[in-house]
Symmetry: C2
Subunit: 200 residues, 2 copies
């Protein structure tokens, strides 16, 4: 029996304020076998950002051409800029036996799942909506109006919970990180399509 | 959001000689949240066996009546005795938030999956068929003819691998135990049907 390792796609979504980015950063930092997906974007590089590291930087014409040619697993326009997840990066990373983590909103996550039905779907949430509100208020980043919109969005996103496979409650950052790492580790033993598994 | 814990069913199957029982025993011993399923059987209790502990002991008439009434998630006749997994035990244990581990052959495992589609299906295998043969020979328990039959059965069972969700290679007992425990741990975060998950 020969088993050729193949990585997994890990989609992580969460309402704003649930601590998704902190959890994902800690997972990537401590798990050498999991990398962030690198998106294409039409926004200008910020200081210190390198092409191919944080993003692949491109212009609108080239982006639209790629989208038309079906080169993105999902794409979206946010605040006037385009962002897209290139299939080529996902496929190459999976073939190399690494997992790709996508820190992405529910809509994008569901698009990924359509293209990659074996993607592992993780939803991160605070223990309750009250805690979410408290965190949004205490980080002192958003206006009252924005917080209200974020909470309404959270309720909407929670309605898609049944499309996700795992729910990680982030009451404590370290615990949430361990939980996501346990889920990702378990994927190593999942029987995946396209994995060579031959009796010999 | 209120989350009520609910246990998971864990089906573990393997060809004879792959070390399934050793792995399962070690998992049960070290994981307080996971218990063995207790089957009904018509075979006589052996010395030290207590009713309701290793098995629920019953007679053939009562067993057949239970089977007719659909009280078993699966049942089979082995060497003249009946064995059956009672749904009542599974349901009660799951409701109590515990996982139930079933050490069961492929046919029984697939029957369980039909009744409990959310059951987690784990297949244990040696790194290859050669190693399986070596183990069967070295444990000095079976005749040459029996070993031949066991190897043929192994090849047959491996054809059902695509019905299983996880493959754990048992090259090293401790490693295999850790892998099964990681898989079982990850189930705690799975979004299950029937789990109360209400926004509040």
């Amino acid at each position: 029996m020969k088993i050729k390792a193949k990585g997994s796609i890990v989609v992580v979504s969460a309402p704003s304020g649930a601590g998704k980015t902190s959890v994902c950063n800690a997972v990537i930092e401590s798990d050498k076998n999991t990398v962030y997906s690198v998106s294409y974007t039409t926004r200008k590089p910020r200081e210190g950002e390198k092409n191919g590291s944080e993003y692949f930087f491109t212009n609108e014409d080239k982006f639209k051409k790629m989208a038309k040619e079906g080169k993105f697993a999902e794409w979206a326009k946010v605040h006037g800029n385009y962002y897209g997840t290139p299939k080529s990066f996902l496929d190459k990373t999976l073939r190399n036996g690494k997992n790709v983590l996508l820190d992405i909103d529910v809509q994008g996550g569901l698009d990924i799942k359509k293209q990659y039905p074996e993607a592992c779907m993780i939803f991160i949430m605070t223990p309750d909506l009250k805690t979410l509100k408290k965190r949004l208020v205490s980080r002192n980043k958003d206006s009252k109006e924005t917080i209200k919109i974020r909470l309404e969005n959270a309720e909407k996103e929670l309605k898609s919970l049944n499309k996700y496979e795992y729910l990680v409650i982030n009451g404590n950052l370290n615990e949430a990180v361990d939980r996501v790492k346990t889920i990702i580790k378990s994927l190593d033993y999942r029987i995946k399509k396209g994995t060579v598994c031959k009796v010999s």
